[in-house]
Symmetry: C5
Subunit: 339 residues, 5 copies
């Protein structure tokens, strides 16, 4: 689930963002836990080898390699590359969320125009709501691992009550080798046309408005699929990964503390623990993790969209609108400030 | 409340923006008041310790650490990271404001099509306006600390006259465990359908246009919630914070004035007060504060949106439109430039 | 008024943009005239003091400060900060202009559907056009200094013929403590409804389309106000200003030509006039002036939007459409290429 | 076809993106295979010549040139240029994909309003679908090499069953020297008008909605053509290419390992294989390849849009909607959660 | 005309973009031909003067100036400034193109609803098409030098057959001192209203849709004018130009090869031709040329929009739609895949 932290920084205050550094869930520490242990382990191993295992001749050679490596670390503008790459990823990530379909507007308009209290009207409203949720589940299964786990087969969807057995069968009979999320949406559209023919939607205006919203919902579903199909090209991601990982590979050797007596420039002091290299590690690797987390927001990270929660919410709200709010309003009276 | 300063720089003039540096409310000084005191205090403490408390051996060690720290400060491109991060935050901040719902357009269209002067028409208009404001308050309570403080319970909203006791009760009876801001908007929609049935809205066109606007208003409310739910991932904020704070932690030690007699390169002179380090502090920390202030614009900062003011304005304008402007216009006469 | 220079560079040519450096109106020279004089004056004063007024001991101290200052100038990435800040300002500036209301589309559609030649129809059209201009003036007065100067009171608007005395009175009677730009737009809407009732607009379609456009016009007015209300946070502007001004303050001392005999690195030569520091001044200060000019485009700069011109244009075009083009077209005949 | 890798990084995990470096299809290695071989070959040749073929005098001269070249490599901010350029290319690339026409929405709305089960209605629906696909093929042939290869002539389109021979003839008879993709779309529009006249589309609302969607489809087709017509100016691409290639040309000489005995600064060690220069090569050249791949996404790269696949999908989905889903829905019954 | 090169790089291939460096039309070489000659000439002149004309004392002074100049070249981050500036220009350039009006959609919808085969209907369609093109020409004349050259007076437009003499006269009689491109569009709108009155457009829906599209077309025309009126502020362009030109002015002196015997750091070798400075020249100046070319895309550069071609295309397509496709479609038959 998304980590919500903005209330902790709602008002700028003393040390402000600093407080956020103490968070664990979804934090840079948690994400980099293993990587940093490995990095520190390898660093220590190299350090110990250099200090105790190598003879003088080998030390000299190691020192040369170390200095060479260190000079490389300044050649790759890791921050620059990450800056541009992450900006692209962030924009995509947000657009992707904006395109997650919400059934609210369609249901809202449907309740306005198909507001009869008789059973058949209610069945129609519920059916349309169910079909919309079914369409959304079909798309989300293709996109999100978490949803696929929840509804691995049609039977699970039937069990959850989104469709009946018969509907599942009719759905499966539709022949098309591609993802068929539009089938239940077409049904929903046909149910609405029927509602118009039976006069339950009183005007063409009403039908048109609901169909329009339904088509928008379908478009959003479609866009979810498109965003999933076309990602940031692999090469771009590889290039950035290559830069960051080769930077830290070079650091493992180049940032060792060399024999201070040899007085290599930049290696004058030995403080044993490379504090600042570790900070750089958390900083640059953390930045890369931002991209990693956002490139597929439908995963199961601490900070990924909680699509299952969202679908529960959609279901609850859709049925509350359809059953409890439809065609009713409190009595019309003069309000408190009438004059 | 937002700080309005653009009139002071409406026309570019001698020293232009320089004048803005003299502002206090919402200024970088006010925001960084405490932080800079702490920073200066710690800096002074370290300086005094180094100058008077340490023996020669300790001084030497301190100097090494200082030089090591200083070299680190050039390794992290703080400006770069802040540049990219703040750009993302600024874009989000503005989009967020653009999505704050304004009832004006809906009310404007409603007054055009539901323009009767009889009491029932007026009650209907007022009711729709009240329900819209109620929906907005419900959303804003979830998003803004200031609004939550103003309307901590439904009773406060009843007291303020936005809804009646009965309406509050009906609202509470609607069963749904999620935020129910759409309930009053559904009521509003039903009131409008009733107005059409009673012929007070004369045409289907009219009803459709108002419903459309109402649905847009609902969408904006929904978006407010989404922006609040999905924030910039915690990792990104942490990474930036880590970079800036570790930069200044390193400065505390690395930017000390070392014994000039030892002639360390870059430490040739001792001017006691690290003027430029302080400027950097105001500059980089200020930049981070920009992000801190904008990441949750619904807080109570000097420069946050004043949602309470906005809601007063919305209420006043909505009722002025509904009561005073509806269906009236000055007599139609030839104007001054007729020929 | 905006400086139009694109025709001078319509086609890339030898020296191309170089020609633009010769412009004066709206130029970086004109904008920085005073600042650069002050900068040069202070620089010269310091230079003279150093060369002639200080004794050897003082000179030594000054030189230390100078070298310290100079090293600072490389610490602040002014170009970076300005790059990000100006990008944000430019985007805002252009969006702001895109949201300046244009009555053309509303009038265009109104003339299509309310095209009668009889006097009452013409009065209606003129009235709607007048009310739209009145609404726009009300908003623009709140936003632009130049418009406020032109129409300081309602009487000036009456005098200019946009409204009659009676209308001004009715406007003032509307009770609402907030900006009431929507009052005349509501009137316009009511006039149009009346036109429909009298059958002068023949169909509901027509009325709906005009009302829709009018509501869009109202939205744009509203957005103008919003852009004026919510500006780029003061802190951001302050941070950037602080960076640039402290950079040049440091330059005043650090870029002095020191005694070449002392052979300070980077101070080997004395060429008396700091040509490149001045170029940097024009360059960085000019960049800041870009932001200063664009942050409030409704001021009276050479390069600000000429809102008064725009309003004259709108008035002229609106009335030309309403009076001269309405309901008329040349006779329908076969054209030249008929076969 | 697009490389889909987001599932492999759905959840941030240990080493995360590192796994992606092992991919081959669409990878930076595959793309740079030949270039890197050439680069290494030339580097080795120069190295061997320097080490074994040159005499002392020549070596000295070579060393001068090498040092000069190396200093140049730090003058061109390749990463900067690539960062800005690639950002522009990425934005364009995504917009371009967003504008690839999808017939789904039009077909969806058509099926809602033209839902008769009689043969003529079905023929009409199929005909509209065929004409839309035909229009899309016409545009795509002009834009994509792969589609042109699949349908080099009209006969191939006839053969694939998108149009009949007669239709192909009528299409060819339309006189217009420009791309005529709008001809079949105009036919589709006329078929729909006919359907309205015959009463198969029951209301004007229905016709209007379908025509609107069809016009949007036409716009997208048109935009595809525009994106293809107006590309990023050649100069920009040339400038970036020039920077990157001249950078590596300079590297070929400047990054050689010079005689370590001469102790040139920066050339102290000889490790024979320029590991880091090669990493830079993969990194910068890879970044340029990102641009190369995205500047024309309709090519036949591993990571280009698979337009042929998309068209198969469109055809299958369009006909499935038109034939199998039209006007039908499962029986309306009470669902599982009815009470 | 735009240079189309994307097919040459449709598929990433060995050396890929390198091939583009061989292009001449629209290339960086062609654009910088003269400038680079001047640059090289001045460079050579200074070089010869230094080598042969100056005495030792003068040489010494020149060398000082040269070293001073060279140090300046590293002070101005030309790449940075250009990166931000060009990004703004590119965005504007593309938006500007997106807003060039295309009559296709309006004509497409008109042909759907005004599809009669009788002469008067055809005259009406042709007339609307002509008026739209006339409006577009009026706007384009104001914006593009090329169009102004083609149609310097109304008579030229009459001659080209877009309007008749009478229409030109009526146009001129309309009193308005501002650009009157909306006059013919208003006529077009009135012709359509007449078509509705005569029943040639059968429904209000039809009229409304066409009018809507026509209003969009008018908006685009209007936007073309706005983009032309409000450009990137002169100061910004000046600042960038100043940076680039002063950079190369400093290079002319600072990048000379100084007497190698004096051993100035960075001037150790004399290779006579400043290859890398020239590469920088092509690179940075080329980048500035990108901006120069894009800031007014309606000029006559190799890579500017070919508006005249576009207008020919619009005319041909508009009349082909209006005359040949209107109201006709191939006979409706079962297609190849019927079962």
């Amino acid at each position: 689930m998304t980590i919500i932290y903005q209330y902790r920084v709602a008002t700028t205050s003393f040390v402000g963002f600093l407080k956020l550094l103490a968070a664990w869930r979804g934090s840079v520490y948690k994400l980099l836990f293993k990587e940093s242990l490995v990095f520190m382990g390898v660093y220590a191993a190299i350090s110990l080898t250099y200090r105790f295992a190598l003879n003088d001749q080998q030390k000299l050679q190691f020192e040369r390699v170390a200095i060479h490596c260190n000079s490389y670390t300044s050649l790759i503008p890791v921050s620059f590359v990450l800056g541009f790459y992450v900006t692209v990823v962030v924009q995509r990530w947000w657009q992707q969320f904006r395109n997650v379909p919400w059934p609210d507007r369609t249901i809202f308009v449907m309740c306005t125009y198909l507001s009869g209290q008789e059973e058949r009207a209610r069945i129609m409203r519920r059916t349309v709501a169910r079909y919309m949720m079914f369409g959304m589940i079909l798309i989300m299964r293709a996109v999100s691992v978490a949803v696929m786990k929840r509804f691995p087969t049609l039977d699970h969807i039937v069990e959850a009550g989104f469709i009946t057995k018969d509907e599942a069968e009719i759905y499966e009979k539709t022949e098309c080798q591609y993802l068929k999320f539009w089938v239940p949406l077409m049904w929903a559209s046909n149910v609405l046309t029927r509602a118009r023919q039976e006069g339950r939607i009183e005007t063409e205006f009403g039908l048109r408005m609901v169909i329009e919203q339904l088509a928008d919902f379908r478009d959003k579903c479609s866009l979810c699929f498109v965003y999933d199909w076309i990602t940031i090209p692999l090469v771009y991601t590889q290039v950035v990964t290559l830069a960051v990982y080769s930077f830290f590979a070079a650091c493992l050797v180049g940032r060792q503390f060399l024999d201070t007596e040899k007085n290599y420039p930049g290696y004058e002091y030995d403080i044993y623990v490379p504090v600042f290299t570790l900070l750089q590690f958390f900083f640059y690797m953390g930045w890369l993790k931002v991209a990693e987390q956002m490139i597929n927001p439908f995963g199961e990270d601490d900070d990924d969209y909680d699509i299952n929660w969202l679908m529960d919410r959609h279901t609850a709200v859709a049925f509350a609108l359809v059953d409890q709010c439809c065609g009713r309003h409190p009595p019309l009276i003069r309000d408190q400030h009438w004059d």
